[in-house]
Symmetry: C2
Subunit: 223 residues, 2 copies
DNA sequence: AGTGTACTTCGTGTATACACGAGCTGTTTC
DNA sequence: GAAACAGCTCGTGTATACACGAAGTACACT
């Protein structure tokens, strides 16, 4: 093997393009495929054990989800998340999640039961220092809020937003694992405020929760 | 030819997959490829004059943009826009465009100059009864507002939203061409309010402008 | 006549082969 | 010695060939 890539190849059956897609996506999120790196179709097809065709399909899907850039006649490059892009993602999250919170509180349905379970699971994953799992659960937690608003189009939109951010979350947790305690506490506060249908309080908590962008940027010095 | 598809094949040079993508996308937006219809890889490759490979790539891109559904081992089907989805798209638009308007008014930069030009161009396209062009220009007009807020991530998100809606716009214009006068007037009012940095007024106009969802639904009886 | 089964057909899913262009390297020339 | 050009190499872009599975159909059996 010339270069080192993501760990063991998950042989999990299923369509070849799914295997390639999942392998590349997880590799990028976990950081094993670092930003700026060029991905070679032949190399990927050789490592995963499929032909170039499903690799190309995975590339296009990853490009649509902004994980990589496809340069014509040049190849695929893992995108780097810039500080500016991160700031914009957080701003967009505040807009969409804030809207969802207002909707949920207005409907007085309380926080979806799923959220409490996700908090517990996140605690366990955090204890195991499995930051990849933690970031995935955090993503599901926030998606649950947006999903509770009942607008599936907006939920899908929100989801594409998060896939851009997840790898940053993993890095931030690796660098500052102690922040997980704060995140956990804020998640619980948020559920309580949603159950109480207290819009103002829930929005306050959200903005506090999504505030530490500049901190994240300084930790990781992305761009 | 067994079945009828979009009009003449634009031979415009460039990558084969781009040709296929543009041909299919325009066919769907303009309505020549109606919702629910199954698309056959071989048929498309035969009509456009390329092999199946670029057709498959175009299919995947169109699926990511929600123009078609890719059913495993079944093929590609042109998505139908349901009334519920349309309602959700409009709600999402109100959220994002409303945010952008607030930002633009707060920055007091006035409406981007591009918008006035687009209004004029739209008038000309409307006089020519070119509804496809009108819908594209309307899309650019609204994107200009979102773009003026300066959040490129949010702008991209908004754009994927509009591609879902554009074909509905074309149908609505075909059914009620006289509404173009109202749309034109509201666009001018919106620009004026943005130039005056009058947030409240601009939001009022926006909500009026994006209100007639139920009307659109009843005209087209989508689902 | 109705139902079950096997065959055939068709289309996607994957692999492989070919074409083309960009970039690099070695040589040649000023 | 430096720059320009030619040839080569490598990787993407596209085409084609093969594999597999699902659905429809026809025939046989009950």
């Amino acid at each position: 093997m010339t270069t080192t890539g993501p760990g063991e190849v998950p042989v999990e059956g299923g369509p070849a393009r799914e295997r390639v897609y999942a392998w590349l996506r997880d590799g990028i999120i976990s950081g094993e495929l670092e930003g700026g790196r060029f991905l070679d179709e032949q190399w990927v097809s050789g490592v995963v054990g499929v032909s170039r065709t499903p690799v190309r399909e995975a590339f296009h899907r990853l490009e649509a989800e902004r994980f990589i850039s496809l340069l014509p006649r040049k190849g695929a490059q893992v995108r780097t998340v810039t500080a500016r892009e991160l700031e914009e993602v957080y701003q967009s999250r505040r807009l969409i999640e804030g809207h969802a919170i207002a909707e949920v509180c207005a409907a007085r349905t309380g926080a979806p039961s799923e959220m409490a379970a996700l908090i517990e699971e996140m605690g366990r994953a955090g204890a195991a220092r499995d930051w990849f799992a933690v970031s995935g659960l955090d993503r599901r937690f926030h998606r649950a809020i947006v999903g509770a608003a009942g607008n599936t189009v907006l939920t899908e939109l929100y989801d594409t937003l998060r896939s851009r951010q997840q790898r940053v979350t993993v890095r931030a947790l690796e660098a500052r694992p102690e922040r997980l305690r704060v995140i956990d506490a804020e998640h619980r506060e948020l559920v309580a405020a949603l159950d109480a249908a207290d819009t103002e309080e829930a929005l306050r908590i959200l903005n506090r929760h999504l505030r530490p962008v500049s901190e994240v940027v300084s930790i990781l010095d992305v761009d």
